[in-house]
């Protein structure tokens, strides 16, 4: 099994397409960081304009932690599309190329190959996320420095002490890995249904867009299915940045406001991953390889 995973990783990282996602993330982050470095004060002023009359904030609002939060809000919506480029091509790309029959006529079962491909695609996804974390968090910390994290929510503000922030990002990135692995497994399922490369990539992206719209629309008919849609839970990494307060309305260091919500989301995402991968294995096992 390990040799199959090595083979799949070797193939992924020998393809030029693999590096598009790494390049795209780097370009986006660098552009945003550059923009905020040059014109960050104006941006911070715009953010704070509604509360400037009632609240005085000392220190550096636009620090590395806030920049990372802004970047994650912007990018974690789009990274799934980059993940789909590789994950949705893992099986169908080989079918299209004609190499799937070479792999499936080796002395390893199709289940082994499918699982090896999924694990390799998952490793790619995690590496992409680590790359995102490195650029968005550590490079931002290096460029903008660190201070307390000041977040504007819809009807309240959250202030997290700088010593209480880093572990929340670790949690958020671990959570995001589940979100992205759900996308990987969805792309994988699409890939098992097709023999061309483009269809599953477009299919995965379309499914994400479709379910995201369902998750965000506040229509009673959709509210019934919303809790079961993976897109409803994908952005709940933000829960790591909602903090409990004591009776004096002071933030409780090390606390998370809604841990059950995070647990439920992780469970829903994990169930989706298992469902999608199992379905892929069953489909591939039954499939006649005609490509």
């Amino acid at each position: 099994m390990w040799s199959l995973i090595q083979i799949e990783l070797y193939k992924i990282f020998r393809r030029p397409r693999t590096y598009i996602a790494f390049g795209a993330i780097a370009a986006l982050i660098v552009v945003i960081q550059l923009g905020l470095k040059i014109d960050g004060d104006a941006y911070a002023g715009f953010l704070m304009k509604d509360i400037n009359d009632t609240l005085t904030v000392d220190g550096k609002v636009l620090n590395g932690y806030l920049i990372c939060y802004i970047l994650l809000q912007l990018l974690l919506v789009h990274v799934p599309l980059l993940v789909a480029l590789i994950a949705a091509d893992m099986i169908s790309g080989e079918a299209n190329l004609g190499t799937l029959r070479l792999l499936f006529s080796t002395p390893f079962s199709r289940t082994h190959w499918v699982l090896a491909k999924f694990i390799a695609a998952s490793i790619y996804t995690i590496l992409l996320l680590i790359w995102l974390a490195f650029l968005a968090l550590f490079v931002s910390m290096w460029i903008f420095g660190t201070d307390d994290l000041f977040l504007m929510k819809s009807n309240y503000v959250v202030l997290i002490e700088q010593g209480d922030v880093l572990w929340r990002y670790v949690g958020a990135f671990v959570f995001a890995s589940f979100s992205l692995l759900t996308v990987t497994s969805l792309g994988f399922l699409m890939s098992s249904l097709s023999s061309n490369s483009i269809g599953p990539i477009v299919g995965t992206m379309s499914a994400i867009v479709f379910f995201t719209i369902l998750s965000t629309l506040n229509i009673p008919l959709f509210n019934v299915v919303k809790p079961y849609l993976f897109t409803t839970h994908m952005n709940n990494w933000k829960e790591f940045f909602d903090i409990k307060v004591n009776l004096n309305n002071e933030a409780i260091r090390g606390s998370i406001l809604n841990i059950p919500k995070i647990k439920t989301s992780l469970m829903v995402l994990t169930l989706h991953i298992i469902l999608f991968v199992t379905a892929s294995v069953i489909i591939i096992k039954k499939k006649d390889i005609l490509s």
């Binding site: 083979i7 029959r101 070479l102 006529s105 006649d288």
Partner: protein, 311 residues
Amino acid sequence: MFGVFCYYYSMAVIKVENISKHFGTLKAVDDLSFEVQAGQVFGFLGQNGSGKSTTIRMLLSLIHPSSGNIELFGKSIQKNRDSILEQVGAIIERPDLYPYLSATEHLQLFAKVRKQKIEASSITSTLEKVGLAHRAKDKVQTFSLGMKQRLGIAIALVHNPSLIILDEPTNGLDPQGIADIRALIQHLAKEEGKTVFVSSHLLSEIEQVAHQILIIHQGKKMVEGVTKELLDPEKRIVQIKTTNDELALASIRTGSFGKYILARKEGIHLKLPTLEIALLNESLVKAGIAVLGIETKNSLEDYFLQITSNA
């Protein structure tokens, strides 16, 4: 040891029993049965779309048969797939490969999926065997179709399998390449004792290398037998060209050569003993028909056309 040797050379490496494959209403393979003995070169012939590749894919468990049984090395492929495929090397139809990898990288990659350790020297010697050693480091995207075909064969051979399945191995090769592959197939069978199952629609290729042939048409077995016996050197297929084919055909039909006439859409074709060709010519001349030429067509291709046109 001798007993084991005798057993190996008498066992059926491939045993196919009544396999059929349906794709919806299309019967791609229909109740096909055959056996391939160890050490044989088995020619699997058929026109494009006759069901050759579907059969080969079933042998490799890429396609699930609708019915029937397949045994390789005396074991069911459905139940013992992994252990069986360890001993099989195959190329299937087109030589589709990874354009961004080199020839050596391809062999290293496919050597990795084998349970036995494959030495680097074995990879080099396999590339030499198929005439690709000089392009070992080049990416496949720079290869011609013929070179890809050679690399496909190298992938099939790199783990030293007992059974080699080659589906249209000479596709895209130039005449020298075709001759090289023919020599390689003969070498594998004679010198290395491999069993080679080779399919083609280029019948002249099979004729020269196969001990046994099977002709498939529209998914059904048309004929199977020893190549030499089927070709029957004692009898020849001849095409006669005359100034008046209608009169010549009528003359042949009424005479003693009528039983040798083959049904063909165009031209006069007969299958007759070699020694009687001169007598046929003489009888036509005596009947006042000018014979422009008698062309001997003793190839498997003619035999194949004869079989399939009668089907």
